[in-house]
């Protein structure tokens, strides 16, 4: 069974069709990178998967169970992590609290267990020494690593990354990508929207190219980057190689 299956996903805002019949699937431990021009519905698609945005049509199956029909949407979100472009850390909480609030208050782990788990994860993202800092005291790269740690602390089946490095200064991008690379190597299932092409080439098991709310092409990184079938994919990627 596939970990995630998306079938004919549709979303419209007023008279604009943002997502038209999106279909793809994902295996466990797979890393998929979604690329494409801005405003083509990539971020909306991610948010449909954990229902931060309600889809208008289609099916999304997680381990064979239809997400769009799940009655307790909170239960579902516990199994799908999300990392945001703007970090969205909880400003009033320390780094440690940002990471442990999920397992502690949502999953109802004991405070000790949640703390232990959070500290381990912080160590993995290299921030255990900043556990007592507040978000305002962190650099952008550190904030995003906390964002990733917060998602990891829920021990999700899948993590969605919504342009995780787009809000960062160029010199801070590396540390975040490093953490993500590490996760991929350790078998985390990840669906990543990004504009970092070389990273995509490097880390992805599969690349999906999206434009105007449609999947134009879906394949291995070698195929998409070296020998795309579709002219639109080729044109889009040309902008990056010319630079």
């Amino acid at each position: 069974m596939k970990l995630l299956e998306v079938k004919n996903l549709k979303k419209r805002y007023k008279d604009k069709e943002v997502l038209k019949n999106i279909s793809f699937d994902m295996d466990k431990t797979e890393t998929i990178v979604v690329i494409g021009p801005s405003g083509t519905g990539k971020s909306t698609m991610l948010k449909c998967i954990n229902r931060l945005v309600e889809p208008d049509g289609g099916q999304i199956l997680l381990n064979g169970q239809d997400i769009t029909k799940a009655r307790r949407v909170e239960k579902l979100r516990q199994r799908i992590g999300m990392v945001f472009q703007e970090f969205n850390l909880f400003n009033h909480l320390t780094v440690l609290d940002n990471v442990r609030i999920g397992p502690w208050k949502v999953k109802k782990l004991s405070k000790e267990k949640a703390t232990k788990l959070a500290m381990e994860i912080l160590k993995n993202v290299g921030l255990d020494d900043r556990a007592n800092a507040y978000p305002a005291e962190l650099s952008g790269g550190q904030k995003q690593r906390v964002g990733i740690a917060r998602a990891l602390a829920m021990e999700p089946d899948l993590i969605l990354f919504d342009e995780p490095t787009s809000a960062l200064d160029p010199e801070l991008v590396g540390e975040v990508l490093e953490v993500m690379r590490n996760l991929a190597e350790h078998g985390m299932t990840m669906l990543i929207v990004t504009h970092e092409m070389s990273f995509a080439k490097d880390i992805a098991d599969r690349v999906i190219f999206m434009e105007n709310g449609e999947i134009v092409e879906d394949g291995t990184p070698e195929k998409i980057f070296n020998a795309p079938e579709k002219e639109r994919t080729h044109q889009f990627l040309a902008q990056f190689t010319n630079r």
Binding site: L52, N91, G102, A136, G147
Partner: protein
């Protein structure tokens, strides 16, 4: 001279006690109503929002003196009677609820959408998101404007003089009517008010420094 001063001070301080009681009771009454008004405005359906907003607008547009007259002289028309002290608390409390609801509404809206989304993404319910994310931050955002509201209510308790509450200003006026020294007595009243408002402001800003969280700097204070 010194004896006169001390005797007057004793009476004025007794009035100040009443002033403080009026202030605290009115603010508490205002807070309870305001929380519901703010929740209605932020989370309510459009018609609940409309009712809450109309309530807030009307109370913010009527002078506190008129509100006191309506409660103290007007309500007995319907057989509802309050003593001056209670009438003052109700009036000041109702009006403060309108201003406090603005404070709480603003504070709730100041918590970024992104954080709410992030809270939902780790699986928090609406109530958990409110308790763990929105409320703690909104409470901090409210401290500075609430201090301001405290001083406004404290100063406006002097208007309860008009419906006969023996608070600071009326105690002062009693002394004036027997001693004919309004300059000294009213200046003493002013000084006591000043110490109370200024002291509160200083105290709260010290407190804020003690409990400060990086990124939550105190914001400017405005008149209600």
């Amino acid at each position: 001279m010194m004896g006169f001063f001390l005797n007057s001070m004793e009476v004025i301080l007794r009035g100040a006690g009443v002033t403080v009681k009026l202030t605290v009771a009115s603010l508490l009454l205002g807070a309870i109503i305001a929380i519901f008004v703010a929740l209605a405005q932020v989370y309510g359906k459009w018609w609940i929002n409309l009712i809450a907003t109309t309530y807030e607008r009307i109370l913010r547009s009527i002078p506190i003196l008129i509100i006191m007259f309506m409660v103290f002289f007007g309500l007995p028309t319907f057989g509802i009677r309050f003593d001056p002290f209670l009438a003052a608390i109700i009036s000041l409390g109702l009006r403060s609820s309108a201003y406090q609801s603005q404070i709480y509404r603003g504070a709730l809206l100041a918590v970024s959408e992104g954080q709410i989304m992030a809270a939902r993404s780790v699986g928090m319910t609406g109530i958990q998101t409110f308790l763990h994310i929105s409320f703690p931050q909104a409470a901090r955002f409210s401290v500075a404007p609430l201090t301001n509201e405290f001083t406004i209510v404290l100063k406006d308790t002097s208007i309860a003089y008009a419906i006969g509450v023996t608070e600071l200003l009326r105690e002062g006026t009693y002394i004036v009517s027997t001693t004919y020294d309004p300059l000294l007595i009213y200046s003493m009243c002013a000084a006591v008010y000043f110490i109370m408002t200024f002291g509160t402001n200083k105290f709260v800003s010290l407190l804020e420094k003690g409990f400060a969280i990086p990124g939550y700097e105190v914001r400017g204070v405005e008149r209600g």
